[in-house]
Amino acid sequence: MKIAIIQFGGTNCDMDVLHVLKEVVGVDAETIWYKEEDLTGFDGVVVPGGFSYGDYLRAGAIAARTPIMDSVKKLAAEGKPVLGICNGFQVLTEAGLLNGALTTNEYPKFRCHWSYLRVETTDTPFTSKFRKEEVVRMPIAHMEGQFYAEEATLADLDENERVVFRYVDEAGKVTDEVNPNGSLENIAGIVNGSRNVLGLMPHPERASEAVLGSDDGRRLFESMADYITEKF
């Protein structure tokens, strides 16, 4: 098994994800500079966080239009797991791999802090190691994290249990106070229709070692690794 971690100019969580996959979870992973384009031989992809192309134009917009994204789309079409974290989530929505859009936070500043999330479904390649409705802790760090989608899309997300994480309080309740960015229905992460592409704004890689304050995020990567082992 081998997981590709895509590096665009301005990506800055690539080494963090590499560390967690290799040293903490213990699976093979490799960073791929965006000019390499070919993802043959990889069983999964992570598009990590950062500021690809400086967030110039619109967060994720330029990265979504690089040739390597065609390879990511091909992999996704084969049913392999594709994970977009933070800026990676923005890239995946810009690339059309996920619905909706991520716009500037309601309070229009960068926000970095721990947040509680509720796991809405365990029926994805990324959440099999969680319990449904379990409350987990991961940090956020973004300025454009306000999830927006049209009503019809929202209805589809709800109906098909495609919302994977919501911002909640410590007890697991969805409230406006704990919504850090004004996301519709406190949505923090969603999957595509075939459930193998996940995008989320919180950083699971920053919550994968207890010494850093939480290791809840590690199970997301472990779930992904398990899925690859079983299916590919």
Partner: protein
């Protein structure tokens, strides 16, 4: 233009009149900013060596020995004036500059800290400066993926026309990957990489006169550079890859005085000469002349010394990372610094004269007339209200609104987040670093020597409460116009205070910068003397680190150190508007002992909380620790002859509050220092009683006061 005296020296040495390009080189390289002309003799008084110092002052950043073959790089710089003119870009490029200093040593930047000093937020302009400067730091630091892990923010009327933006950057690499700015070999090529060069930032180190630039247009441009963090991130990755592959023989980032500064200094340090071909520099606008190409301070550029056979490989990396780059010259055996432009030689300067020829000197210094102390304010009628006022001061209140905007967790090292006494980062599984920064400008104004000492002791205590011994100090010496003898006296006294306290604690001063002439035409004021420092210490991650807040009900609260009566320069007096009243507290002689005792107590693993006492004194320290739990405190035992307000608000340095469930176990550790058990962690309110007073603050009152700045900014 060059000062007459300088021109005389240059003419004598050259035996001729320097041409315009040459004059431009001298003007910039001999500026106060580049040559530390009037500060160098004083800076020599610092002790800069120690068993862990591999590279001290003089290179782009210092390098310290750490553990397991790792070394740390650290540097500190100010970006004050640009941040007033263009706060967003001024602050952003301040971050960019210090980060490049660290990568110039071959180290990956892993942490930033920002001590910031503003005018009060009661004018639209100060509010604008505050918001934009923080936005600039966040915009740049977040994008390049370097966490901001600690900081300091102080407000004082005298910073209104001249806010201060100081930045500390820490880097990490393996000892064998360290590179320096000492050029190695004649014949090696000089490769410029990063952004292209424009006319921006001309004369940042000095000023570009109309005659010299021969271009009125340049004068109309802002002299503040514009930052591009996206390019900076690429420059970081490209530089580190080139370094790790061994292609870089020496390296310097382009800062003040641009390519002219970096290339001449690198060559001179290696005892070599250099030949620069100005036309070869990738330019972002047409018709630049040699002067502009050489001295522009366009951001995000690095200069590498590369062996001829490695040039292609380095240029391939430039290509890989979508940067601009070219061979712009070479190192020579000559003792001259030569510049060619359009096929002609446009400058030939003896390189040692250019880089080391600026005369350094001490300026006249004069102690100000003995300050007339205004009468002491009367004791407050309502002590509780006084405490709530002090707690609500933006200097003491939570800075969450600020640090929320900074990514403080990227790179997976941050184990203690901003909002505590010092930030802690994991380096290896067992060892980490603690970082703290700041100073006490008001103390420094009343007593510059004590202010210098206080800065060191307070930061050392910030580290001590996380069990960290200081490894090294960097500084940013922000003062007014040194040509005024009273200001030069402040500067000198503060430097001596810093140096003495650092020696007493055996922590070397390994680098920094000097920012003089911080005066405001607009307000006719000079800043309070601000000898800001950054301190780095080593943390043992195998022991549980105490929190800055109370975490365990029933624990005993122990006050370390003695409280004296001076209230001069305190936050309490400042809240009363009595900034000129009283004397500033001196640093107690046993400060090193107190700091060592706290470190030992933390290392015993028996503490649940530990917090340094500074602004707002004992009362503010206690209130600050009551985040989720309250405390019941009886100060009768330590009252002595102190008035209630002295007991509560005096800011005597070298004190700390500890909480422990085993106070008797600390007896042995604390046997050589004064300490008192003053109460217990209890309930959710803060109750304090003394000889003739008693008060209780509810959790709501504490929170409202503590959140004052956040509520103001969000409201």
């Amino acid at each position: 233009m060059l000062p007459e005296e300088d021109l005389k020296i240059i003419k004598k040495e050259l035996g001729r009149e320097p041409n315009l390009v040459e004059q431009g080189c001298f003007l910039n390289l001999w500026s106060e900013h580049c040559s530390y002309r009037s500060s160098a003799p004083l800076l020599k008084t610092f002790t800069t060596t120690g068993e862990n110092v591999l590279i001290g002052p003089g290179d782009d950043a210092a390098v310290l020995k750490f553990e397991d073959g790792y070394v740390l790089s650290i540097a500190m710089e100010s970006h004050n004036h640009p941040s007033y003119v263009d706060p967003y870009n001024g602050a952003a490029t301040g971050v960019g500059g210090i980060v490049r200093d660290v990568i110039s040593m071959g180290a990956r930047p892993i942490a930033l800290m920002d001590p910031l000093y503003f005018g009060p937020l009661d004018t639209p302009k100060n509010l604008f400066l505050f918001e934009q400067i923080i936005k600039g730091i966040a915009g740049y630091g977040n994008c390049i993926g370097v966490p901001v892990v600690n900081g300091e923010t102080l407000f004082d009327r005298q910073y209104s026309g001249n806010p201060l933006v100081n930045v500390v950057c820490v880097g990490l690499c393996k000892e064998e990957d360290v590179i320096t700015s000492i050029a190695k070999k004649a014949g090696n090529k000089l490769v410029l990489a990063g952004s292209s060069t424009g006319k921006d930032g001309l004369g940042g180190a000095s000023f570009a006169s109309r005659d010299l630039s021969e271009s009125a247009e340049a004068n109309d441009r802002p002299s503040v550079q514009v930052g591009d963090p996206y390019t900076e991130k690429l420059v970081i990755e490209m530089t580190l890859e080139a370094t790790e592959k061994g292609y870089v023989k020496s390296c310097r980032d382009l800062g003040a005085a641009g390519l002219g500064g970096a290339s001449s200094e690198m060559a001179a340090k290696g005892g070599l000469g250099a030949r620069i071909i100005a036309d070869a520099v990738p330019q972002r606008e047409p018709d630049m002349n040699a002067y502009e190409i050489l001295l522009a301070e366009s951001q995000e550029r690095m200069l590498f010394e590369v062996a001829p056979e490695d040039v292609d490989a380095v240029l391939a990396l430039v290509e890989k990372y979508d940067l601009n780059g070219a061979v712009v010259g070479e190192l020579t055996e000559e003792s001259n610094y030569k510049i060619e432009f359009r096929g002609e030689n446009v400058a030939t300067i003896p390189i040692a004269l250019l880089t080391e020829g600026a005369p350094t000197f001490e300026r006249p210094s004069k102690a100000p007339e003995a300050r007339e102390e205004s009468s002491k304010p009367e004791s407050p009628a309502d002590l509780k209200q006084a405490l709530l006022t002090v707690l609500s001061s933006y200097n003491i209140a939570s800075k969450e609104w600020i640090y929320r905007q900074y990514d403080h967790q990227v790179q997976l090292r941050t184990t203690v987040l901003p909002g505590e006494d010092s930030g802690v980062l994991k380096i290896t599984d067992k060892k980490g670093i603690a970082l703290s920064c700041g100073c006490q400008p008001r103390v420094t104004l009343l007593d510059p020597y004590a202010g210098g000492k206080t800065a060191i002791v307070e930061n050392a205590m910030n580290l001590a409460v996380k069990g960290a011994e200081g490894l090294a100090i960097v500084n940013c010496l922000n003062f007014g116009n040194p040509e005024r003898p009273e200001i030069y006296w402040q500067f000198k006294q503060a430097v001596l205070g810093l140096g003495d306290a650092a020696r007493e604690l055996e922590i070397p001063v390994v680098g920094g910068n000097v920012s003089l002439y911080n005066e405001s035409d607009e307000f006719g004021t000079a800043i309070p003397p601000t000898p800001s420092i950054g301190m780095i210490g080593k943390v043992d991650l195998e022991i549980p680190l105490p929190s800055s807040f109370f975490t365990k009900a029933g624990d005993s609260i122990v006050l370390i150190g003695e409280t004296t009566s001076e209230l001069g320069a305190s936050e309490y007096y400042s809240c009363l508007g009595a900034t000129e009243a009283g004397k500033a507290p001196a640093v107690p002689e046993n400060a090193p002992k107190l700091i060592k005792a706290v470190i030992k107590a933390v290392k015993s693993g028996k503490l649940s909380s530990a917090h340094d006492l500074s602004l707002g004194g004992l009362a503010a320290g206690l209130a600050r620790m009551c985040k989720t739990l309250g405390a019941k405190v009886d100060l009768n035992e330590i009252s002595g002859d102190l008035q209630a307000e002295e007991l509560l608000f005096a800011e005597t340095p070298a004190r700390a509050l500890l909480a422990t469930s085993e106070p008797e176990a600390l007896q042995e550790i604390l046997k050589d220092v004064p300490y008192t058990v003053i109460g217990t962690v209890n309930g959710d309110a803060l109750e304090i009683k003394g000889k003739d007073f008693e008060m209780a603050l509810s959790p709501e009152e504490l929170t409202t006061a503590y959140e004052s700045l956040n509520d103001f900014m969000m409201g």
